[in-house]
Amino acid sequence: MEPLTSKRKVIESKPLNFLERAYLPAILSGLRITGKHFFRKSVTIRYPEQKREFSENFRGMHSLKRDEEGRERCTACGLCALSCPAEAITMIAAERQPGEEHLYREEKYAAVYEINMLRCIFCGLCEEACPKEAIYLDGDIVPSNYLRKDFIYGKDKLVEEPLNQ
């Protein structure tokens, strides 16, 4: 058949000489390469102790924010749960009682707020949907666990620490 292009290269493969058939030159050059690598600094990061720096827009574990007076910002409107494509968020709302004004900023608050970390895809839509700036994915990587039920994070793990502590 006629060649389709003029770009072609005839490859000559010379028969190997005796040394090459004994693999010696190839082995020596291989040993040189690995020998160089032996003295190279390892690229490993010793993970739990050392951490690579996250990028600015890294999305990790969620945290429920408090306002400047230390009150929970979340008003349990449910927009985060609605926006969540993975349906990872559930909440039960409750009404703020008199005397709880120092705990919750709005008149309604989330009595139960749960995120299933196995369902969550860390897309950040909840953070964008939130009208009260109450939820941010600014945490760390979600740690591993043995049981599925332990991946459902409640308020105890999600809400930020109070201010003066």
Partner: protein, 352 residues
Amino acid sequence: MELALIGFVGEKFILVGIIFGISLVVAMYSTYAERKVAAFFQDRVGPNRAGPLGILQPLADGAKMFMKEEIIPTRASSLLFIVGPSLAIMTACIGSAVIPWGQPVIIGSDYFDLQVADINVGVLYIFGVVSLGVYGVMIGGWASNNKYSLLGAIRAASQNISYEIAMGLSIIALLMVTGTLSLREIVEQQHGFWHHGYFTWNFFRQPLGFLLFIVCAFAETNRTPFDLPECETELVGGYHTEYSSMKLGFYLFSEYINMFVSSAVMSTLYFGGYNYPGMDYVNATLGGTWGPLVGVGVLFAKIVFFIFFFMWVRWTIPRFRYDQLMDLGWKILIPLAIANIVLTGLFSTFFK
């Protein structure tokens, strides 16, 4: 008379115990070193969690091996299934008996010979033990009653037989130079480093022979690139597919002990054993007790270097194909070994 005999036997027992312990510890830490060295060659860190720098990793591995469930397949030959790994580890261990670990140590007025048995056919003994070593693999693979194990065993047998020839031929050239089969005498001939205007170490008299010997040593210990008997990609696990728990551990262990012993043999035959430049001066300065022990340290340094080299090659070269293995053995190594014998003969006839 009887007391002397008891003393002699006791001394040898102690020496055997020490050597046995040392080879087990060296083999144990070879597994750790293997993983560490592999890591360094691949720009990684390697095991570093068990103890400082992962130094307790072999203990953890050993404990794991002992704790695992022991499975003997119902269709396997139950006696031979146990004989296989026992034989493998036994033959691996007895090879160290004829290696001279150092010059005799003088404590007070007593001599302590740092060699279990100074037999006048030491090299032949090593060869016998090495060729026995393949039986452990063969019997284990055959007794498993598993086609992959059997294929691995067959490969091990044919590989060892092919490479033993080249190994023997490369040794013949060495024996033409040394004129003795006793390892003690071979080492004594390599005393020091420089004598009569030439190196005393046999490596400088038999460079080609050493090259052949080290290649064959790789093949005999079933190390990469000659680890076809345990080729995972083709044979699941090779001859130890069916093995679990400490029986598997013994197989893996025997490989490392083999590596240790063959490193010791290579250092002894070609790199002067416990000899090193300036040893007479050191011996005269340190006296009869510590001088020889420095020599023992030097021998171990050489052994460690060879073990490192084994690992270096393992993490560099991919496994040979079966036909390449046979080609290398029969068409390259054996002709080279024969040529080496002829050259050595010519050289020692006409130039000395």
